[in-house]
Subunit: 438 residues, 4 copies
Amino acid sequence: MSETNRFQIEHLGAPNYKSPLQLSTVRGDHIFNFVSESDRLVFDISMDQYAHCLSTGEEPNCLEKAGPRQNIFFDPKETTAAIVTCGGLCPGINNVIRGVVMALHYFYGIKRIMGVPYGYEGLNPEIGHGFVELTPEKVKDIHQFGGTFLGSSRGGQDVSVMVDTLESNNINMLFAIGGDGTLKGVDAIGEEIKKRGANISVVGIPKTIDNDIDLIDESFGFETAFDVASPIIRDAHNEAAGAYNGISIVKLMGRDSGFIAASAALAMPVVNFVLIPEMDFQLEGELGFLGVLRERLERKKHAVIVVAEGAGQQLFTDKNRVKDASGNVKHSDIGVFLKERIKEYFTDIPVTIKYIDPSYIVRSAPANSSDSVYCSRLAYHAVHGAMAGKTKFVACKVNNKFVYIPITEVTKKRKKIDLESEFWFSVLQSTGQPFLLK
Amino acid sequence: MSETNRFQIEHLGAPNYKSPLQLSTVRGDHIFNFVSESDRLVFDISMDQYAHCLSTGEEPNCLEKAGPRQNIFFDPKETTAAIVTCGGLCPGINNVIRGVVMALHYFYGIKRIMGVPYGYEGLNPEIGHGFVELTPEKVKDIHQFGGTFLGSSRGGQDVSVMVDTLESNNINMLFAIGGDGTLKGVDAIGEEIKKRGANISVVGIPKTIDNDIDLIDESFGFETAFDVASPIIRDAHNEAAGAYNGISIVKLMGRDSGFIAASAALAMPVVNFVLIPEMDFQLEGELGFLGVLRERLERKKHAVIVVAEGAGQQLFTDKNRVKDASGNVKHSDIGVFLKERIKEYFTDIPVTIKYIDPSYIVRSAPANSSDSVYCSRLAYHAVHGAMAGKTKFVACKVNNKFVYIPITEVTKKRKKIDLESEFWFSVLQSTGQPFLLK
Amino acid sequence: MSETNRFQIEHLGAPNYKSPLQLSTVRGDHIFNFVSESDRLVFDISMDQYAHCLSTGEEPNCLEKAGPRQNIFFDPKETTAAIVTCGGLCPGINNVIRGVVMALHYFYGIKRIMGVPYGYEGLNPEIGHGFVELTPEKVKDIHQFGGTFLGSSRGGQDVSVMVDTLESNNINMLFAIGGDGTLKGVDAIGEEIKKRGANISVVGIPKTIDNDIDLIDESFGFETAFDVASPIIRDAHNEAAGAYNGISIVKLMGRDSGFIAASAALAMPVVNFVLIPEMDFQLEGELGFLGVLRERLERKKHAVIVVAEGAGQQLFTDKNRVKDASGNVKHSDIGVFLKERIKEYFTDIPVTIKYIDPSYIVRSAPANSSDSVYCSRLAYHAVHGAMAGKTKFVACKVNNKFVYIPITEVTKKRKKIDLESEFWFSVLQSTGQPFLLK
Amino acid sequence: MSETNRFQIEHLGAPNYKSPLQLSTVRGDHIFNFVSESDRLVFDISMDQYAHCLSTGEEPNCLEKAGPRQNIFFDPKETTAAIVTCGGLCPGINNVIRGVVMALHYFYGIKRIMGVPYGYEGLNPEIGHGFVELTPEKVKDIHQFGGTFLGSSRGGQDVSVMVDTLESNNINMLFAIGGDGTLKGVDAIGEEIKKRGANISVVGIPKTIDNDIDLIDESFGFETAFDVASPIIRDAHNEAAGAYNGISIVKLMGRDSGFIAASAALAMPVVNFVLIPEMDFQLEGELGFLGVLRERLERKKHAVIVVAEGAGQQLFTDKNRVKDASGNVKHSDIGVFLKERIKEYFTDIPVTIKYIDPSYIVRSAPANSSDSVYCSRLAYHAVHGAMAGKTKFVACKVNNKFVYIPITEVTKKRKKIDLESEFWFSVLQSTGQPFLLK
């Protein structure tokens, strides 16, 4: 298979129905045009890639443009959709649920939409949560609330059982809002459906508050996350400055990637140290973290530290590492660890340490305006893609455009902060911390 | 000493200076009248007390009305003031600092105002924090920030040393913003000053985020506290409802009194249980907390618990009880304890428990509008009292009026929630929890 | 009729049913006690009144304590309630609706609760809005939204028609949430009911964002109003300071009383002038407003003015005065007027004037935490009173206690700011404006 | 000049000083690399452009990558910088000021930084505002406030006079934060400097709350603008739904481009109509706005309209069009106009219309977190570019990367919403309004 086909989306079959949307196919009439199946966008827009293609004549990797198709696979009158939300909370889930319901109902006239309660558990009849029918009336206000209207759970269920449930309930399309594990799950469901030759489209809507899904632009909820964290850092600064040699430690989400910690620190420029998983650092030694912290206290009498939950894992011994229900490595609490080590270290001068862990407050907040805009558009595109009969894909934004990508492509690895990027440099410029802490 | 004198304020001496304020002494000219030294307000406004006085002819206890006096003790041209903030953070401290500085500077023309850094430590020259001079320009924006502009510390310093510092710096009045311990400290300073025959007025401005200072109406920062806690409870509800049998535990401040927990729960009516220090409760037994919680989960599949930090101390063994630097009994963490006990108890059904402790976020927030109004007025009254030569008093609000009370009267005991009051009943009505959990 | 009976509440008849509430009648069992019909609270708690009664032996005026009665008039199984919201929006209306529904349903087991749409219009079948049935499920989240879930309208309807509607729908109690006009309306409805000898209780829940209902403490929504206005004043200050001789005028609600303007200005101490209806002022003359404003600009190069909508009416000619649908005098726009006059006046120096009218933003905001607490308690007490068979009363707070007062007592006149009160003095201290502007 | 040189930045001369920044030049050491003068980014990343270049062999247009250079033009020890802010307020101005001061002071060690008060007026000594010296201490908290710390003004000053002022004050670099007019002004200043052969770098930092500067990604403050507008739209919806046939009209900024109106409507999906300058529409006729509005009211009994200030100008006659001090065409008030026309049109049914204009509230708000992050990075890049001796350029973000572009390129025309774009389609999907209103 050529590299070019890497981003090819699978379809359930030929789209034999006319879309009910009254759109155009020509420019100039001020009416949006149906998106053609051949519309593509360049994936790698770097100068290097450009030069490479120019010199070799190679075609660049391209992504399928998202949007409504003129011909669709599903007959709206006969279609039932289902929505499931999995994993941890993230701002914007309800906006996505709302957007999917509104798009199915108002754009395509689909009247039967099932909400699957409590994540993949809801697709296992043995657990017996039942379904909840979704209507515009029921979801019209949910965007103003954080959390998930449908409930969630961690971990998977037997794929075969879940597909049985979809089939026995005559469900034609499943929208799964979730992270890395959920997306792998929905892909497995899609594979099982394919094996059975069923006409069920499965769509992933990537949800990761950590912003660590590969290939895609910022994930929904991420901006809200650091928007909510930012005044908490301001408060932490108040706490630190309120005591002689006051030190505040704020732990933020970020298991493998420090985007929230770094962005929140940049947004509220009272932070002196940001510690992230991507960065190897030591506590001891002249250029280690504790020595630099001491130097800061001597100059300014207070310090604010923002630490991502996955930072400093190199400081722990292996025995602490356990896995949670979704199979993610659970980390030892770096915040508590830092607090203890700082306390032990400063035996010669009085320090006051405050440790703040606002994780649940951040993740259960309602979406801010940018994320609300993003979630609505994402939901609409997910629906357009499913109606066209596409399957095992995610709707997402790449290079600031909405596209469809095969699920398998975004779950290969995590997105991380490049320590030599302009972004991380801007964080260091803002905090004044050294490049290396060792 | 007759009961009537219980609320008598001490004065440094006769007020021989004319107030620079251009006020009136007659009604009807639309200009505020100087408050007379004989203006009094009834302390106990209950019907019972009324009837008692009517029948016995006894005079009721009365409080000194706060406000500007026509004759003042200190010569503004020769006066130096100092401000100190002690103990934990509380919304509104900066508003009070700002108000005191503005009142001293603009109302009375006092040009030398010293900020004492880091609480009573700042009055001990050996620790060497120095003073910081305060001007309107320096403090004009601080009301928009939480924390304390001056820094704070817990615990006391040698009274004699502190009075030495006041004398050697020619300070004529000390405004101390702090809680129970701080107020006792400022009274001790006042006693030492009296012994030395020095002309230094000491004023307490009661600060207690827990709202547990006796006699006075709601203390400043308290409304902000539950205003900030309220959306966090909404988030906690999102977390609980987002999981099957999801349980959220939110721990709020309240060492001896549960006002914040109760008010926040009432403000955000998604709370199912409020546990406060005033209430004795058991975990086990049919009517114990765990059984009632189980019954709730069976009906609704999620629960939100708000617990004051000082609640449930009867559940701990004595050995855990230690004291902090201010001499307060430090409690074992009831939130962590509850989380563990709930987890142990529900072995037969799956539960998901989230524990949220937003204490630092709550206490370091900026004052909301009600508290901002309150803090400005409180600060102005503290200044008017000090200028009149009063000493060892607090400026505060009682029965919705600003009054002066001797410090010793408000530090005798803590204010607590009456379990048979309309307030606590309204909390139980809102949550639906039973009166007794045992 | 003796003065003492001024606050006597009418009853529909003897309370022959046992309350379903499991409350107590003794102190010490940690269970709230039923409130006795004879529980009274002193109305006027001033020292003067106290002295007067003590010396003359007169009984003081007393108010009925609000709360659940042991014996109730209505049989919960057979009772239907209705709720109507009238007049302009005010933060907290939805909290009150929610509280009334929850109290009726959960405390008393009343299953039929009708929402009357669009104010008194909803009681006129000719207009034909119909009723909407209210359940806990329907109202459980509405407290998080501003506005009124039921819709509102201004003005009255034919009293006889409205009582016909209540009777023909078997409604036993009507809760009317509204201002002065609404309360007069509900009293008229109660009179008509009495004339017909019908067993329908009518209850007013006073709603006035202006805080101008007489006798009662702060009305619900008022604290939220100045809490929402306060950051808008901060923004207005940014606008003023952002231009050379920048002047911002913020118009706030307050037809007859300037409480919102005064409180908002005190809460955000960047305001230099507060103009309220209670205050007579002139524009011209050395001590007139324009001259003082000029002096301010010369010193500081910017100014912030907060003006209540009803201020400065003496500056208008009579011909502009018209009445709105509720019969209130509609004022000419003082904000626009001031802007024009200021512009005309400063011909010699450049000024930049910004006029901001955030009225709709303020009144349609959701209740803040203090108001949420207040609204729930108010709603509960309204229900307890109605169940006891009381009628033509308001549930309200006086001297910080919940009481019942005859509607006629609170609609006699408006509450206004006393220009010689400590409150107004504190506003002038904060702004630095002179007592008199003429 | 070839198209490729279109984006070439001018330099004052050879960069003969070593940058004081301790950066790297190799990948892999976890230290940010100096940006090379030859680092370029493709401007047009569309598939079409890609295909065009591939087939023709043409080089694509490229942009200069922003960032710190290893060799710089100015000797930090001898350099004085100045900052000026012009035009209307926009969230984030203070963050940019702060970022520029911090970068100059901490990264490059520049100690003399002058704030120019009140826009270009501050560069005209005849007006006599003087300069204000800026230090990290002075600006450290200003990011928490909206407005501009330096003050602003509209319109230009004599270019020659302004350059005289820069020269006589030994200023080596001028950072001008402003919109289209300001940027043209700073370019003219740069031209005059060039003519005189002076060594003064001039840098534009594009500020447009309307998001209408051409070529660049979203401008700073824009996200905050619709984030602040969004809850106001929620309130407007409360107002509309609170009355029978309630109609709320919210006017938002957007003289030539409707980005704020469209984004705010998408963010708060209660909006039924968005009217923007890019869209031609009629009021009358079956498919005109009023007819469609009537149809909406018949179905739902309320409607929310968001209108950009520059929308519907085709409805006005020419005589109303005047220009403001900056030379922008001042529009007639479309909000007031709509309100009146709607009122006139609905003579047969009762409607209640609320008109809300929150413009000043939106533009004077503090930056939200996304904008804070953006502003800091933008400021740092502006400083790096100026230190390298570049001039007459803007620091900005294109295709999500920070670049430098000649000022003349971004002031050629306004950025507008493409009515056939996915963005505008998503707005119409959200509101349900037809593509054409005529």
